[in-house]
């Protein structure tokens, strides 16, 4: 048996705005502006005695065809889409560089512990793996926050991520020179750990792509059903 779904005004307005912003050209400010307008219009119609669903339908009609408004935004921001892809590419480069360097630093840390504290091979590997899982967790959190357009992240990442990206190879270089003896003595353990780094970096990038496409698919399905 099917139950009628309850109309949710906020969701309906957000879905309509997402249809206008299909090319992701609007910033948060502009999305909020459209939201404010549609809510004001709907609220004024509600005072006239319409139901939420009816009021929103009229608001939408008055606001105009989403595809047309989307096209008008494209005309106003012709290079926004290209610029967005270029910036995303640069950011991705810095993220990969930073991430792989952080992993190397952790590996060197594990090796230093292995030699200084005479830890067994398997304990070193577990420590190394634990540290990498932690970095992987941070990476996934970052990826989710980035895709969900977290405002704080949006505000700081444009200087923080490149800074970390540039700083990390530098730190990793220093760590390498300091840990040269460990590297020389390490042998097979070392090669295992560094191979591990590359695999985990690869897994992170594949995960990022997967998260992105799953969210994109969910968003499209959501728009289609609405």
């Amino acid at each position: 048996m099917e139950y009628p779904t309850k109309f949710d005004l906020q969701v309906a307005v957000q879905t309509y705005i997402s249809a206008i912003d299909r090319n992701r050209l609007l910033d948060q400010d502009e999305r909020e502006e459209l939201f404010d307008h549609l809510m004001l219009e709907t609220e004024s119609l509600l005072e006239g005695g319409l139901t939420e669903e009816e009021a929103f339908t009229v608001s939408k009609l008055r606001f105009g065809e989403s595809a047309l408004i989307s096209q008008q935004y494209e005309q106003v921001k012709p290079f926004a889409a290209v610029r967005k892809y270029i910036l995303s590419g640069i950011m991705l480069f810095f993220i990969i560089t930073g991430f792989s360097s952080v992993l190397q630093i952790f590996s060197l840390g594990s090796l230093a512990l292995f030699h200084e504290w005479n830890l067994s091979n398997s304990i070193t590997r577990y420590l190394d793996l634990g540290a990498k899982m932690m970095v992987f967790g941070f990476f996934l959190t970052y990826a989710f926050a980035r895709i969900k357009r977290n405002q704080v992240l949006k505000k700081y990442e444009f200087w923080l991520v490149p800074l970390l990206g540039l700083l990390s190879p530098l730190l990793s270089g220093i760590a390498f020179s300091l840990g040269y003896n460990y590297l020389r003595l390490a042998g097979p353990t070392m090669s295992y750990i560094f191979l591990n780094n590359k695999i985990i970096t690869g897994i992170c990038m594949v995960s990022l792509a997967l998260i992105y496409y799953i969210l994109l698919y969910k968003r499209r399905t959501h728009l289609a059903t609405n």
């Binding site: 206008i20 404010d36 307008h37 809510m39 008055r62 105009g64 047309l68 408004i69």
Partner: protein
Amino acid sequence: MKNFSKDLIAASTIPIVLSILRRGDNYGYQIIKEVQEISDGALNWKEGSLYPVLSKMERNGFIRSYRKKENGRNRKYYTLKQEGLKVLDAAKDEWHSIHQILCNLWNTQPSLTSR
């Protein structure tokens, strides 16, 4: 009710928005309501089309936006900049000239008054 052509609406949107902002700072929804009120509903814009225009005007430096908290919502207000004022003055001259030319062609008395 009059039905204006799309081209005329497109050409007049920026001067109309600038004229409304000359009266004082305003936000999108209210700008549309004022246009409807002044034109007695004759100028019936598709409301959503105003926002790309506002975005374009802001990018061109005619207007500036700021946020103001109102009734629990963060509302985006627009204010006219010096550049926008210059554009408005130039637009007024152009519209007066066109109006004058058409009146001469049609042998009618111009009734537009400059403010």
